[in-house]
């Protein structure tokens, strides 16, 4: 049994308030793998987005949040961040695409010049759209960028209000379902890094650090457990909350894991560099009040604990 080997023997008094996104994925993984009996208490809270989790962290209502690389950039933009990124989760970057509607003559990013392109503001979609445009030799101002939420974006794409849409997840799947074609993919632009952020207060407590390291290791183990022949069980759990069919969920999961297996690891220089790139992109887009040095909200204090926990 994996235990917190970091010495702090009594974790029973520790309670971690952990944020989870969407349909409580990490929580479900632990349960499925039978790893949810922790020697400390975990209070899971489900939010509809990483930004909301970070809001809660800032307000002191959460100890730990998980998000993509984007939200912490904004959450730290005012220089008052009271959290640090403590671990990095690798995951799939599939279904992060720029698509054109069925029958569109647009087939490449370069053709987007002067066109209306929908995107989800302040998300990975904005980032990879920016980067893809740059790769195609276009500036952001060369397109008519239309900020839209995913559902609104798809509606706009179908309704012919926009010429292309940069979005992610099921909106892209749905778009393909209606005959949309991919004209750019974020798969190779996005790092696939998902951050685990902990509040400064949490980091300051050795017991909580130990508990967090143990928890992250368990989640990591849980993903490994699923890959190891329990894909269908996982897909079943997924399907009930995302209201998909099990086969749909399974194939989606398999494709994702094939591209990049989900693992949790330490904070690394490379991850910080990747985050800095994101920050710089948003800076260039004029979304940040001032230049942001992302390393100010990264830390390696959990690394030693986490390394041990992962190894055990």
């Amino acid at each position: 049994k994996s235990s917190a080997s970091s010495g702090s023997s009594d974790l029973s008094s520790v309670t971690l308030a952990v944020g989870d996104t969407g349909w409580a994925r990490a929580q479900a993984v632990l349960k499925l793998a039978g790893l949810d009996k922790t020697p400390y208490k975990v209070k899971w809270s489900v939010f509809q987005g990483g930004d909301l989790q970070l809001q809660a962290v800032r307000a002191g209502a959460l100890d730990v949040a998980s998000s993509s690389e984007i939200p912490p950039v904004f959450a730290a933009a005012d220089g008052n961040a009271n959290f640090k990124v403590v671990a990095v989760q690798k995951g799939t970057t599939l279904q992060q695409e720029v698509v054109a509607p069925k029958g569109s003559k647009i087939t490449s990013m370069a053709q987007l010049k002067g066109k209306k392109v929908g995107y989800v503001k302040n998300t990975t979609a904005e980032y990879f759209l920016y980067e893809l445009l740059k790769q195609a030799g276009l500036k952001w101002s060369d397109i008519k960028a239309v900020p839209l939420l995913p559902d609104a974006g798809l509606a706009a794409l179908n309704g012919g209000s926009i010429d292309a849409l940069a979005s992610y997840g099921n909106s892209i799947i749905a778009a393909h379902g209606q005959g949309a074609t991919t004209i750019g993919s974020g798969a190779d632009i996005l790092s696939g890094n998902f951050n685990w952020e902990a509040s400064d207060k949490t980091i300051a407590s050795a017991a909580k650090r130990a508990a967090l390291a143990d928890l992250l290791a368990r989640v990591n183990k849980g993903y490994a457990y699923i890959r190891n022949g329990h894909e269908t069980d996982y897909a079943k759990v997924t399907a009930t909350t995302t209201h998909q069919s099990v086969s749909e969920a399974l194939s989606q999961y398999k494709a994702g894991e094939q591209q990049r297996p989900t693992t949790i690891g330490l904070t690394t220089k490379a991850a910080i560099v990747s985050e800095q790139q994101v920050a710089d992109a948003f800076d260039a887009l004029g979304a940040l009040p001032k230049h942001l040095d992302v390393s100010t909200f990264w830390t390696d204090v959990l690394n030693s604990d986490l390394r041990k926990a992962l190894a055990s």
């Binding site: 349909w23 509809q48 809660a56 002191g60 995913p150 099921n170 749905a174």
Partner: protein, 329 residues
């Protein structure tokens, strides 16, 4: 009330058969002389206008027909007519889906939604979501209603209260909830409290505005009468002010009840793993239009239910009122 007036110049009105009423009766000899006295007043104006020597025609008359008689023939029952609106919406929706006017990616077809409803009811998700949201809505509504009542009474009864409370309410009302969510998290944490608080907030405003307005539209004559009867402040509130404000309060209630459910769409984005708001924003994230539309439908049904309750309540509470209830069409 239907006014069945058929002006029939100088002749018996139709439907008045067998009764040779009105008009120049056969054998009415001294007709001219009479008409000369009665005069004819085509235009209704002219106070001292002299009686003109116009043609001596009898005045148009009409028969007041008993309501029962008028109501003969087939009548669509009330409940059917009331259902026609919602059913019509359903139909349009279905046709829009079938005709391809609305792609299912935007608005799932009724059939898909029904299937989803069946599935989610079978696996218990939908009932438990309604129960979870219902609890929050009920608690929040109760709290909000009490706050609204207290504030409205303070503002309605005391000039000082009006000055302090009413302007603040106008101000607060304009502040969007969404902007307050971070504050709510600080004050109330991320458990049930902030959700209930949001519902309470959403409910307070419409109730406040309507109760306050109702209090201020209380008839000053009745208030004077009550003072003369020796009613104290409490008595005045109990027997005059609150009943006066009741019709307005019921309008506010109609609005507040649906707001209670709506507030949860936002409230249940924060740390909720159940509730219709959660179900809905989750579906939004995973792009399940059938679930989204199902949630919208659930909201609509809840809205109809709440409306029904308010309607019943109004009927019971406002029997004393003699007011306009639309014509008899």
């Amino acid at each position: 009330m239907s006014v069945q007036e058929h002006v029939t110049p100088g002749a018996a009105p139709p439907g008045n058969a067998g009764e040779p009423a009105a008009g120049p009766e056969p054998g009415a000899g001294p007709q001219e002389a009479v008409a000369g006295t009665a005069g004819t007043r085509a235009g209704a104006a002219g106070a001292g206008a002299a009686t003109s020597g116009a043609a001596p025609t009898a005045a148009p008359r009409l028969t007041i027909r008993p309501a029962r008689q008028a109501r003969r023939g087939f009548r669509v029952p009330r409940s059917v007519r009331r259902a026609s609106g919602p059913v019509g919406v359903l139909l349009v929706w279905y046709l829009a889906g079938v005709s391809g006017l609305l792609p299912t990616s935007v608005l799932a077809s009724p059939v898909d939604v029904l299937r989803q409803a069946w599935d989610l009811t079978a696996n218990g998700q939908l009932p438990s979501a309604i129960v979870a949201s219902g609890k929050r809505a009920a608690t929040g509504f109760a709290i909000g209603a009490v706050i609204a009542l207290v504030l409205a009474l303070t503002a309605g009864l005391f000039r000082l209260g009006e000055d302090v409370v009413d302007s603040s309410m106008g101000m607060f009302r304009a502040i969007p909830w969404v902007g307050l969510i971070p504050l709510f998290i600080v004050w109330f944490g991320i458990d049930e409290t902030p959700k209930i608080a949001l519902v309470a907030l959403g409910v307070t405003y419409p109730l406040y505005f309507n109760i306050y307005g109702g209090i201020r539209s209380a008839d000053s004559q009745l208030i004077e009468a009550a003072r003369m009867l020796g009613l104290g402040r409490i008595g005045l509130i109990r027997y005059v002010i609150l009943p006066s404000a009741l019709p307005g309060a019921l309008i506010g209630l109609r609005y507040a009840l649906s707001t209670a459910w709506l507030a949860l769409v936002f409230a249940e984005q924060v740390n909720a793993s159940n509730g219709i708001g959660y179900l809905m924003s989750n579906a939004q994230q995973y792009f399940r239009t059938d679930v989204i539309v199902l949630c919208l439908a659930v909201y609509a049904i809840l809205g109809l239910l709440c409306d029904f309750v308010v309607r019943l309540l109004s009927k019971r509470l406002l029997t004393w009122r003699a007011s306009f209830d639309g014509d008899g069409a």
